[in-house]
Amino acid sequence: MIKVKGLEKKFGELEVLRGIDEHIDQGEKVVIIGPSGSGKSTFLRCLNLMEFPTAGEIWFENEEVSKYRKGMDLNAHRRKMGMVFQHFNLFPHLNVVENIILSPVSLNRASKAQAIETAHRLLDRIGLSDKAKNYPATLSGGQKQRVAIVRALAMEPKVMLFDEPTSALDPEMVGEVLDLMKNLAIEGMTMVVVTHEMGFAREVGNRVLFMDEGVIVEQNDPETFFSNPKSPRLQDFLAKVV
């Protein structure tokens, strides 16, 4: 579904991604771990073209999307990839339902009435129906992130990208967000998740990638990945985080 070939990204002189080759199949759950500054966020942001690769190709459903630079194609591609951020990035001037329907309605994906109906269905699913008219600032971190996730889902994306979705949460709220992500996984969503939650990686991931200094150093199924890390750098990293 997603093919990445020789992906490189530089910010000025700084080489952040230094040649990444990767295939992600439909329905796969890929977890990415790695030290800070290794380029995990940049990799995700390249996948939905929030950043443009400086070299290499990104293919999505048999189309080379990395040659899109602006306009319709670009926005259409991003629509197919939901993105969830560490800091939620809900729109504070809009209430929960308005947050969810803004994009579907603005992009004529649905009539306002339809979009509202969908929004309520999604909120119902995450148990936040009673918060429909609340403004984001009145929600807890966990609630915010769950709303952010369904906001992305309202666009009916084919892939969901998660960039440390639980890193900014108080510990007691991490569980509710991970649960929602697990549900999504079970439903068959294709997911690429950058996280420090090793439990989630083990339980949900089909594959875990270890990124360091802009390359994927090692990858494996979760079981082998954690029990039998090969490269010294991964061994080091796991020793530090676990």
Binding site: N48, N75, N89, F91, L107, A137, R151
Partner: protein
């Protein structure tokens, strides 16, 4: 004794003041001149502000968009150059001189006082308002643009539906202050014979050989400004209240309660 004091008070205070009021406001229906002066001041201020808001918003969007793109296209680069020049030209020329240029060169033929005033002050104000908006826009968290774009919205859609509504709200108090500054600044429009409040006062001062009109002018401005300041402060309170009610404070309180519950 008491009688002489009251006559003294009458002679020294009441009588000259009422004579001044009579001369300045009543004789020859001068109150009508005052009213039209006040109307001119308020109209010029109000419409110049509207013009300034429009220009300022336009400029700020151009400049912010230009800076947001790695490689802005030719059109945007050209517009950016034009608006940047505009801002530095306007900021580099004293208002009185700008006024003179509009009145004696651009509108030399038309003699339309109101239009001259609105254009001169509006164009000047636009440059300052653009900086206010620019600050407001750049105060919005970068994550907002990211979220909008990642949902598939275009740059303009994200700008108009997500960034600007928040930015404008943040700017409201600063714009209120711009309104006040503009009101006071229009007092120099008399320089090009626009008969606004100060000009009317000054003309009547000349006719009546009495400095009192300038005191009245001062009082009228003061009342207007105090009133506007009151409105701005009310607005600020309201804004900070809604931020507080819905914002970090509530969360902090909630968290505390959670901690307590544990």
């Amino acid at each position: 004794m008491i009688e002489t004091i009251t006559t003294d008070i009458y002679r020294i205070f009441i009588e000259p003041i009422s004579r001044a009021i009579y001369n300045v406001f009543i004789v020859h229906d001068r109150w009508a001149q005052w009213l039209s002066g006040l109307e001119m001041t308020l109209s010029v201020t109000f419409f110049a502000l509207l013009l300034g808001l429009g220009i300022g918003l336009f400029i700020s969007i151009i400049r912010v968009s230009h800076d947001a793109f790695e490689k802005p296209n030719i059109m945007l680069r050209l517009l950016n150059l034009i608006v940047k020049t505009y801002v530095s030209v306007v900021r580099g020329i004293p208002m009185v001189v700008q006024l003179a240029i509009w009145a004696f060169i651009v509108f030399a033929g038309s003699r339309n006082q109101l239009l001259t005033g609105i254009v001169a002050f509006g164009i000047n104000s636009g440059a300052y308002v653009s900086e206010v908006f620019r600050g407001g826009i750049s105060s919005i968290d970068k994550g907002q643009m990211e979220a909008g774009r990642s949902l598939g919205l275009s740059y303009p859609q994200t700008m108009f539906k997500i960034i600007l509504p928040q930015a404008v709200k943040n700017c409201l108090p600063a714009l209120g202050n711009e309104f006040i500054a503009l009101l006071k600044e229009t007092s120099i429009a008399g320089f090009v014979a626009i008969s606004e409040l100060t000009h009317v006062g000054n003309v009547i001062r000349g006719i009546t050989f009495n400095p009192a009109p300038m005191v009245f002018v001062a009082l009228i401005y003061l009342i207007l400004v105090l009133f506007l300041e009151f409105l701005v402060r009310k607005m600020e309170n309201k804004l900070s209240q809604s931020d507080r009610r819905s914002g970090k404070m509530v969360q902090r309180l909630k968290r505390k309660r959670l901690v307590k519950n544990d």
